[in-house]
Symmetry: C2
């Protein structure tokens, strides 16, 4: 076990930060770490918007479902899929590459690129003693977020990340049994998955019972089934298409 692996394994999302901003130097280092991640075919499909304007942060916090830590933190990044840059590049050579940009494959590439970059930032930030939390909540109102950040066609904010000096010590929720997420040579049969999920339901129920003093008695299977019983963000398909992505 080395420092890197210790940092990775110690991850907990932090949702309360000290009122202390992050140095400009640290922010630059974090963006350099983002850029150092792998990128599909050297395309570099990620743009990061650093939101420093406190009014914009406040607005983002509301749009993300009134999550106060979106406004109150050391720094706030928004990670975007960005094919506008490639479009501009192609236009410099009088070419049009829209057929490529709007494909499902390109949408996957952009989502992966932005996520790899973001996870480097997460790990790097935690190695500096900072805490982070991903903010998928910006997708609650993505049209408004996109307008607030002046994102043109082919640029889609994917998630935010609040960073700062931790002011909380949250517990660590048990992950799925490793045998459930790690299969060898092929995908496991569902009978085995069911057994593992039964075991995990008990383990997570026990965890919640302890944490809530007995008030909460359901585990992961129940929780996930309930939360996934109605589709979230059903406008997404249409909005992503309007942005010129994931169309063909």
């Amino acid at each position: 076990m080395n420092e890197v692996i210790e940092t990775i394994l110690a991850h907990k999302s932090i949702r309360k930060f000290k009122d202390k901003s992050i140095s400009e130097e640290m922010i630059t280092t974090l963006v350099e770490c983002a850029q150092a991640a792998s990128t599909s075919s050297y395309q570099q499909v990620c743009t990061i918007i650093g939101v420093e304007d406190q009014e914009k942060k406040q607005k983002l916090a509301e749009l993300a479902g009134n999550q106060s830590y979106v406004a109150d933190n050391g720094y706030f990044f928004v990670f975007c899929i960005d094919y506008n840059r490639h479009k501009v590049a192609a236009e410099m050579l009088d070419k049009n590459i829209n057929d490529t940009i709007q494909s499902t494959e390109a949408f996957m590439v952009g989502t992966v690129d932005a996520s790899l970059a973001a996870q480097n930032v997460a790990v790097a930030a935690e190695s500096l003693g900072l805490g982070i939390v991903y903010i998928g909540g910006i997708r609650n109102n993505l049209k408004e977020v996109s307008e607030l950040l002046d994102c043109p066609e082919h640029v889609l904010p994917l998630f935010g990340m609040a960073i700062g000096y931790p002011d909380a010590e949250p517990g660590k929720k048990p992950r799925l049994p490793i045998q459930s997420v790690f299969h060898k040579n092929g995908y496991k049969k569902n009978e085995e998955t069911k057994k593992l999920l039964n075991q995990y339901e008990k383990e997570t129920a026990e965890y919640y019972k302890k944490r809530t003093g007995g008030k909460r008695t359901e585990g992961w299977v129940t929780q996930i089934t309930t939360s996934m019983s109605s589709p979230k963000r059903a406008y997404m398909k249409e909005f992503v298409r309007e942005k010129g992505l994931n169309k063909t």
Copy 2:
């Protein structure tokens, strides 16, 4: 600068590995690192398939466009978006959550979850002195890859990752200028992007010229425009839908 940030900044994709396998203990550590990544709403939408069977690796190498390092490495992971597990969980409670699973939003969540997990593996592996390369090439023939790995409905192999002891020292290609990928408070105007791309075109042309002894004189703008001039993997939309994902 600490060990973590040094590791992240030193990343280079490795495409030639020593003939030496990775210990079982390391593999377990890497999967634990994958699991430690953030996950949207505790959903844990990633399953990792470790491909150890050399015949399967050989077949994968062919399907990925005859990339020898897919077969010849210390270990090979395939990262999958996995909503089959949630479907099984819901069925245990006599519920059906297909409307949620097949949404564009869920497809984004799954792609992000699998990517965050993978990047933890990449960073952890490099901290152990291993090299890695992401293999998007498995998406060249995703139906065949999916069948080879017995992936049921709602499970989509997203990319592979070859890992091993490095047997090459590749150069490090210059990334986009930081001002191009890092914007503050809102997305930059295209005039500025154009200036930065002109600068980057020169920088990358210089890099390629040096590396190829003058044979290659084009930079990133030209390279990307050429490679994106015709859509890749145009079957993707249909195949992903067949897998019950990204439909609504």
